[in-house]
Symmetry: C2
Subunit: 246 residues, 2 copies
Amino acid sequence: MDSENRLHTDAEHSSTDRPAVSPAVIRRLPRYFRYLRELIREGKLRISSGELSERMGVTASQIRQDLNCFGGFGQQGYGYNVNYLYAKISDLLGVGAGLCAVIVGAGDLGRALVRSSMFEKRGVDVVAMFDVNPDLIGREFGGVKIYDVCELETFCLENAVDMAVLTLPKDQVEPMSERLMTAGIRGLWNFTGKELNAISDQIIVENVHLGDSLMILNYQICRDKPTVTPKEERGETADAQKESLE
Amino acid sequence: MDSENRLHTDAEHSSTDRPAVSPAVIRRLPRYFRYLRELIREGKLRISSGELSERMGVTASQIRQDLNCFGGFGQQGYGYNVNYLYAKISDLLGVGAGLCAVIVGAGDLGRALVRSSMFEKRGVDVVAMFDVNPDLIGREFGGVKIYDVCELETFCLENAVDMAVLTLPKDQVEPMSERLMTAGIRGLWNFTGKELNAISDQIIVENVHLGDSLMILNYQICRDKPTVTPKEERGETADAQKESLE
C-alpha cells in the first residue's frame, strides 16, 4: 500500500465540490469509515472527538484536525453527527460512485476476495473473474463467473469496468497491466507481490504487500524476545508434530 | 497495518547487537528486503544508491539515509554489497529467527495464505491451522493439517508457537486473542477486519485492513474520473451480463 507518493488530492481539482483534504488525511479516512460504520450499527447518532479518540486510539486533537475539513459540524459539547460524517467520508472515498471491478486470477486469493463482503461494503461491484485454467473457466465463486482470460478486453470495454484486482502469478503482471490499460481499466489493485510503478498516467496502481506486514510483526516479536528458539532446538513434541504433518 | 504508533526500535534495547533503526525506517525495510531479493535472483552483487533509487522510485538520498545505519558499506562509486545488506536486513527483521505460526480460521483466506510462499520466504514455519468446522478438521491444505480449535492452547504451548494468523469471523477475535495470549502466543497477525488494540503488553498486534487499501484506490479512481457512470446507467450489455451472472 505504497502509493502515498502518488496520492494527490481534490485540492488540485477545483472543478469538484468535494472538500480539499491532504493526502495524509485521505490515507486515514478509511479507518474513520470503519469506525463510523460500527457506530451506526450500534445506533449511535452523535460522538464527541474525545469518545472517538478513545475508541480509535488517536488523540482527540488529531481527530478534530482530520475531520475539520468536512465542515463545522463538530461543535464543542455537541459532537459529530455520525450519519452525516459517514455520508461525507463515503462520498469522498467513492463508495456511492458505482465502481465496477473484475478479478484477474481465480486462484485461492482471488476466490477468497470474491467471497468476502469487502467489495460490497465499499460499493464496488465485482462483475467477473478471469483465469487461464480450463478447469476453472465457467465455474462461479461467490456468485461471480470465471471467464477465459482471452475474453478480458472485450468484457471490460463492453461493461465499462473501472478496476482490476490482480491475483495472478507475478511474472504475468506487467503484460496483463498493459492489456488492462488498453481495455479501459482505470485502477489496478495489485496483490501479486511484484510492485507495479505507475505504468502510465492513465492508470492508478495500489500495491498490496501482505508480506511486508508479516515482516513488521516478525521484527516486533524478535525485538521483544531476542532469544527465540530456532526450529531445530524446539522440543521433541514439536519435531514429532512437524513430521506427522509432512 | 496500523501499529506504527506502537513500533519501538532496537535503540531502546541496548542489550542487543542490532543496529539502532528508527520506526519509520523499520517500516520501509521490508520493501528493501523484496528489492534486494530480486537483485540476488538476478545475480547482481553490488548496486549503487542511484540505481536502487531508480528501481524503487525513491530518492537516492532517502536510500542512503535509510541504509546508513547498517554500516559504512555503501561507499561512493562502489555501491552496496547486495548479499551483505540482504543478510543484515533479514537478520534485523527476524527472518532467520525460526518463528513458528498457526492460522486460526481455515476458510478461504486462511487456505489462500497457507498455500502461498509468503511465510516460507520470510522464515516463518506454519505448523497448524485451527477451525471449528468438523468437515475441515483433519484435512490438510498446503501440507498443513487443520485441528479442532479446542486443541489450540495445548498445541501452542507444546510447540512453542510464536504467532497466530487470525482469519476467523470478526465477532470471535477478542475472546480468541485472550485464549492465544494464555497459550503463550507473542504476536497476532489480524485479518478479521475488527481492529485489535494492544490487549496486553504481552502480545503484539499487526492489523491488516485490505478494505482500507481498496478505498484508497476507489478514491483515486473517482478523483480522476468524477463522472463515473453509476451502475444503473451502464449500457444494456452490462445489465445483460450482470443478469446472466445472478
